[in-house]
Structures are given as C-alpha cells and as structure tokens.
Symmetry: C3
Subunit: 160 residues, 3 copies
Amino acid sequence: MSGENSPEKVSMIVFSGDMDKVMAAFIIANGAAAFDMKVTMFFTFWGLKAIQKGNLTGKGPMGKMLGLMNRGGVDAIGPSRLNMGGMGRWMFKKMMKKSGVASLDELRRQAREQGVRFIACEMSCNVMEIGKEDFIEGVEMGGVATFIAEASDSKFSLFI
Amino acid sequence: MSGENSPEKVSMIVFSGDMDKVMAAFIIANGAAAFDMKVTMFFTFWGLKAIQKGNLTGKGPMGKMLGLMNRGGVDAIGPSRLNMGGMGRWMFKKMMKKSGVASLDELRRQAREQGVRFIACEMSCNVMEIGKEDFIEGVEMGGVATFIAEASDSKFSLFI
Amino acid sequence: MSGENSPEKVSMIVFSGDMDKVMAAFIIANGAAAFDMKVTMFFTFWGLKAIQKGNLTGKGPMGKMLGLMNRGGVDAIGPSRLNMGGMGRWMFKKMMKKSGVASLDELRRQAREQGVRFIACEMSCNVMEIGKEDFIEGVEMGGVATFIAEASDSKFSLFI
C-alpha cells in the first residue's frame, strides 16, 4: 500500500514491560530509523511502562499494583531474568555502561529525536486506568486498528 | 503472492498460554478481521490452552501436568504477571469488565464468528498427547508448513 | 526488494533462551528452509545460549552468572514453564523423543545443514563479554543493521 515516494515502515507491538525486551525494541526502532524507515511503536499491557513519565501509578486497584512494580520510571524496569531484587538490573546497567550501550532512557530519547512514533493502546489504558498525562511528551493514544493499518503497510512487524 | 482479488492476510503463532498474551492475540485477530483481512492463528506449545474445550488434560504425564495448570478452561488462564494465586486474574477480569473489554471466551467466540482460522500445531499435540477432540469446534490440525505458507502470503505475521 | 530470481527470505530474532521458544524457532527455520527459503536467525540477549558451544560462560560477572544458568549447552536449556529443577526439561525431552521430535541439538544441526544463517548480536556479546570463540562453528557476528536489512527483505519476520 506504500506509495512511490513514501518511506518504508516498521511497526512493533511492545507488550512486555521487561527491561531487556523494551531495550531490544528501542534498539531495533533506532536502527530502523537510522535507515530512514518510519517506525511506529504500539505500547500495550505491560509495555506501557516503557513510555511512562516518572512513576506510572494508575488510579484503580490494578493501576496501584502496577505502580508498586513501577517505582522509579523506565530505568527501574528489571530484566525478564536474573533480576534478584534489583541486582540483575544493577549489574546489567553497569555492564551496558562499560560496553558503551545507552540506557533505556537514552535509547527512548534517541527514538523520539529520530521521529519514532509512540502510540499508547487505548484499551489497555482504560483497563489500567491510566491516561495521556501519565506518559512522556509526544505519546499518541490509539487503538488496535491503528496498529493493524501501520503493520499492513510495514516491511516488517514484531510483537515484543 | 496474493492474487488481485484475494483478501489481505494476517498470521499469528500463539505460543504463549498466558491470559494477557492470548487476549492480545485475539484482539489483534478481531481487529484485522474487522478490516476484512483473512486471519490465521496457529496455536502451538502453551498456546494450545487458548483453544481448549473445557479442561485441557493430556493423556501422558506431561499432558496431566498441563491439565493441572489448566483447570477451568480459557477463562482460568492467568496473566503472565501479577497472578498471585489467582488474584491477579480476578482483578484483571474485574477491571476489564468495568472497562467494557470482552472476556477471553467472548473474544475467542468473536474471532470464530468473524471467520478467523484456528490451527492446532500437530507436533505439539503429539508431544502433549492431546488431540482434535480436546479443542473447541472448528479447530483444524496443521503443521509448521501450513503456518509458513500463510505467513509468506501475509501482510504481517506475529509470534506471540 | 527481492530480485526476480533471488530466493524468498525469512528472518527471526531469537531473544529468548527458553528451550521451548528456541525449539519453536529452529522448527520454523527448518520448515522454511525445506521450502527453499533463505532463513536468517539473529540471536540476541538470552537467545545467544542457543548457539553456544558447550558451556557459554562469559568472562565478566554477568557472563559468569549466565554461565551458571547455562551449564551443559543447548540441551540443558529449560522450558519457559514447568521446569521444576530440571524435571520439566527431563519430561519434555522424554515425551519429545517418544513422539519422534528431534532434540534441540539435532534441530540446530539440521538448520545448519540446510544453510540457515546464524548471526550473533555484537552488542549483546559485548555486554555479556562473550565472543565468536564461544559459539558453534559457522556463527557470524552482526549488528542490528544486519537484521533490519534482512527483515526488510523477508516474507515474514518474527521476534521470539
């Protein structure tokens, strides 16, 4: 469906809130954007943590529970393994720094600066009782139809 | 490979048996079907739970273990996080109801009614010693070749 | 972007190190290769375990921790569920053998023999302080740009 002169697209559903998977998502997004591809990241369920502003605490009981798991914003997200009360995260971050890998916060900022589009899943936001004001600047709200339209027009689409 | 008049396709491998991921899969399937896309869901490994009829208990020792984790059918599947002995599921379902989000069972029924194709992975069924009679009506049996043929002809494919 | 006579492509990011997901990845890769598709598997993060030579023990502290989780090579990887101190793996392997499903090691060998391309993510290797010498024969090192180029030219791409 892509027109003659329109840029090539990449789309991703970021479902996971684990630090390592979110990091992989931003690294792929930044890589594709560096090739001048138009990247759309659709954040849903636990993935909403990745675009939170500071401390993502919802208003309902589930939102409050999420908040408990979310204290400290994007850089406090633990990896999907080896977390061990924060030690895994600490070592992971230390080793990444040593290896010159950007932090989640930096990767996210790079993505924004390269024009990567961030969409928060409306349905998940309703369930978790969080809203646009809980996200960093530039996040759009959108439904699954928005993702499907983008994915149908993308060179590749990933569920992360 | 899509012909001039054939509908556009979407294909998914549903590998996970976690309630939240299965729900995401059905929501995407229903969204794509609403755009008149032809959707194929290929259920494998733990994802087979999502198309079980009542209580999916296999006949071998592994199948029996799966059965223990599966009591109560599709609506008894827990989310991948926050399950806490069923409490996470209970809260999740309560909040979804409040937000007007359909239950897993309803989402699955909608998918069937919209003509979404459900394929159970033959190899996984053999390993887990479960068969066609363990699944809801309309589930086909198929191999990885079936998935690859559909995915190669799809606008996008996801591994969930 | 595929030329007239070039083979059709499939690409996968293998992020997970869980036995069941790695197995699914190799089964899809072998299936696509059997259709004469050109398959690229890009191993990153925990997925690097799947191409380890024997015991993947990194040199830094995180690498050593990974090594502890990795004793015994590819056939010692546990499934993402039901592991229970190795019992899940043991039962899984026993049932797969009974059902005639190849072991992870055999599936990987088949993939290599069918010309599936294995790429180890350079950035992950740097973070985990592991190198080409830690992998089985034939593994290439590559960056995210390599994956994006392959995925953009693929019939379908999966994040596993």
